[in-house]
Symmetry: D2
Subunit: 328 residues, 4 copies
């Protein structure tokens, strides 16, 4: 399977590297507005540098991995769909749910395969947690609780064009909540503020937020997010059901523990997503390749991407208007 990698930044390097490491895949082209970045990734993956146009036009290219800035995603997805490429696109599809809907219409009309990069579903811990729930381990699900805290805030320049915490960061948790709930939330209420960095507040965003949601059948979910965690990248899930609780804890740097005069000390959590989700990115790619190869519909798909951005929009609206928001 031959890939075109569009975008050679941090996440493009991950996906490009993972494609190149697979025996059944090849990176054919790398495209990036930054020629240096494109060349560097092309060299390390044994690919050629190309333009987006070249990639879509190349008949040997089976699939594209869209790793470019968010505001290019929807357009690139549409072009890739029309070019009959299988499409893997980083989240989010777009910051506007309307734009996402239109994009998905194009994808559907073209009969294209589209998978969205909600990598956490492929973390083997979270995937195992979800599978055990699906097997009935905790009985009927009642409550989901998700904690996500970044080790530190991104640059303000990133904040400004990110769509804000709800659409940029919590969108992962919205997808995870949906993945676990197995049912769509019908209402949401959000609270948040800028406690980590005032500049984030001045940019119209929050860095600390909590959200609650409920589904039609009465299941509830809570999400907490922060752009700061002194102890590493905090990624935890907890679910409660009629027969008990299931949770997935953080991953520490090592299993080493020191005990001294200050007590028992274990390592910090793995520092950030590249490290924490390294194998999740590989498994995500494997799922995409497998689905494309077998002609199956991959998940998370465009609809998952749409629902996640809708929840993020509703959370933002709830925060902004200081009101509970119904999701129709």
């Amino acid at each position: 399977m031959k890939f075109g990698i569009i975008g050679a930044g941090r996440i493009g390097k991950i996906h490009g590297g993972n494609v190149a490491a697979r025996k059944d895949c090849v990176v054919a082209f790398v495209a990036d507005a930054d020629a240096g970045a494109a060349t560097s990734l092309a060299q390390s993956t044994g690919a050629r540098v190309g333009t987006v146009e070249q990639i879509f036009a190349a008949s040997e290219v089976d699939a594209v991995a869209i790793c470019s800035p968010t505001d290019t995603h929807a357009d690139l997805i549409e072009r890739a769909a029309r070019a009959r490429k299988a499409i893997f696109c980083e989240k989010p599809i777009d910051l506007s749910a309307d734009r996402v809907r239109k994009c998905l219409d194009v994808v559907e009309a073209a009969g294209a395969t589209l998978m969205i990069g909600f990598n956490r579903r492929f973390d083997h811990n979270f995937a195992s947690l979800q599978a055990r729930m699906a097997d009935g381990l905790i009985g009927e699900l009642e409550m989901v609780s998700i904690t996500s805290r970044d080790p530190g805030p991104p640059p303000i320049s990133y904040i400004a064009r990110s769509g804000g915490l709800f659409r940029d960061m919590m969108i992962h948790d919205f997808d995870m909540a949906r993945f676990l709930l197995g049912e769509e939330p019908v209402a949401i209420s959000a609270m948040g503020s800028a406690l980590v960095d005032k500049a984030i507040g001045e940019a119209g965003d929050v860095d600390t937020a909590v959200v609650i949601m409920e589904t039609k059948s009465g299941k509830v979910a809570q999400i907490s997010n922060s752009r700061r965690a002194a102890y590493g990248y905090d990624q935890r899930i907890e679910a409660h059901g009629s027969k008990g609780m299931i949770r997935a804890d953080n991953i520490r740097e090592t299993s080493v523990e020191f005990a001294g005069a200050q007590g028992f000390v274990t390592d910090k959590a793995l520092d950030f997503f590249l490290e924490r989700y390294a194998s999740a990115y590989r498994d995500e790619l494997a799922a995409f390749v497998s689905a494309v190869t077998k002609g199956e519909k991959p998940r998370p798909d465009g609809e998952d991407g749409f629902q996640a951005i809708r929840l993020a929009d509703a959370a933002y609206l709830s925060w902004k208007t200081k009101k509970r928001v119904a999701i129709d």
Copy 2:
């Protein structure tokens, strides 16, 4: 210090027994509408059975512990205050915040000492957590997360007169949130449903609920409650600040762990409040005795009781009206 114990039920027995076990205290009287219960507790504590009137009239009685049903609390507090007794009263003071306010006015006018039984503040784990926060261990507080799950639901008959989950159960968590936040919440949003027992829903109550709150300075709090936990009485606190996280975990029955074909298995959490908070009840009493003896104002006081019921009311209103509720 001589006590009159009013109410010889489950919680009256705890407080009566703890008073009797102290070298500096005596149970002088036990009063209860149920003569058998009163006699039983009086015998085990070396006290006399008396009426409420006798207790208030007895000049040798220094203090009363009000452990009777909630709807008698406010009236008994007022009478005790006028009788110049130091007053320890179980939570809540009343299910009506207005009634609580009036009661506190009487207490204030009488210059009486009043302490409310939010026992969790005296759990040595939670007390230590709060003390370390106060010492600045986690820097500036940003977020509080509280999980409380009962091992199983109470009888429907109890539910009916309890004031509902928010006023009966989550009131402890509201007090804990205030204890940790060090600042009053200004808004609250609640979601909940009856997933454990439909009869609870039919009684107009919920058994599963999540709440978020925020303070004027932007701190946020989340609380989750359930009337069901297969693994014991779930009582956890987590707080995040600029320098890190602090949390207090459940207490297991023993420190024993078994490892076999199913994995590593540790004990359930201590089953319920009598066992989980046995030493907290003793330390709570010690704080009351110490405050009365030294002529100091005990905490949590009537105002803490008032603020907790206000938050519970607001949570109930939010749940009932499906709206975020501002707290003025």
Copy 3:
């Protein structure tokens, strides 16, 4: 049940206090060569100061708790047995196994009840571990591993008259090993040195030691001891069987955990035996009172005391002679 407490030092205070706190027991007399210590304990327990002779002569005294220095134990046990008192004696009975054997002959001839204070059997964690093993949880037992580390070394003056680490400290672990193995060790090998304090080595003792033992059926046990542990009083047990492992971990001061830039930090282990085994001492006394009341033979008994000192002797011999020692 009326007790005479012989010895009003650290451990005498524990047992005296625990006797006094029981509703079915009374401390009748306290005896100690140090009049001040005796008076102090007598006052706090509502007892009279008396001589050892008075205690043995007093017909109302049912039982004695021997808490005096080790070199007085065997003689006091014999006198108490002849005086027909039920006897609780702190470990060890004597530093000489021969002397212990003679003492037990006197006890047997007198038909006296004797219980030895191996308190750890009554720690509810260890007791639960043993009970689960007895219930077959781990199948056929194969290996026992015991770790005991004191937070710090005792004064050299204590070391000199203690009988040394094997007889003073590891004797608890020998009793625990026998308690868990359910079979007598037939061989032992010990290694040790003075690494914590050279003065301990100069006094002819070790402060760091490891021992292995095997039983006739081939079960093996390992014990490690140290007079130093920066992280508190380290008291752990682990047992392996055909169906798995069971272990009991240390008890921390609180359940509080802090997570910051240095990682995740939990509290030190409870600092020393008075704190760690506070409830074990109460349960030990309860077992003694129950056995005496019911006319049953208490455990651990004199034979347990004898076997433990034999193992300690063998360990000492193994260390001293640098040879494996067979236990006949």
Copy 4:
């Protein structure tokens, strides 16, 4: 760097695969008496099938990985040394310490580079533990405790030619003890029996064993081994020093925990060495390649292999003769 892989069994596949996955290495030849195994590994690594003679004769081959049965190791090492290849050899070099010494003399005379596959030194948890000790985290080392338990026993046919538990299994722990102690043991005492499978005992071996060792300066070590662990591959290290304890725990299959009526359940330990030490094998190879490339002496080297087999021999002797054994 071009490798010849000698032996295409379980461990040969690991090393062959890891060599092939490196960008700076190539598998040139695979040799195995079993042509099918050789062909299979050659195909998956892009190598040619060759004979041992061909590998030694091929001038383009820089290094060999000796993954054949133990009784061929010493001979192959000597031939490789004379052929001026860099040598990576699986442990043990030989079951006879004398044979190992002779082999090492040949290696030395040839000036060859030899690294022995004690993979556990390269586990990032254990490596980190050792590094922190070397940095002084626990102060002066006093005691090392190592637990190794296989999930289940190997076939009796393997036992028979393995050299027995001490030389086949515990040899890893002897190397680890030396790695951590930083000093040679001067005495050893071993106990063991066949509790898992009587046939192992009939084959003259043990499946359950404990060992203690001491060094000249008085440091002590304990090792426990078993061929059975219901809860997975048990691989733990604990070290104590003047400033505290450091330990490395098992690695679980996932971070998922279930809490239900039976308590809190976490996953089993990773099942066996291929899975548990997958990254250790990669890091081990990286260390070998780096040393060869830089012309440095790799560790663990032949001398480490010799010392480990000496300790294993001494342990066997101690067990067999029921005596403590001095190591000169």
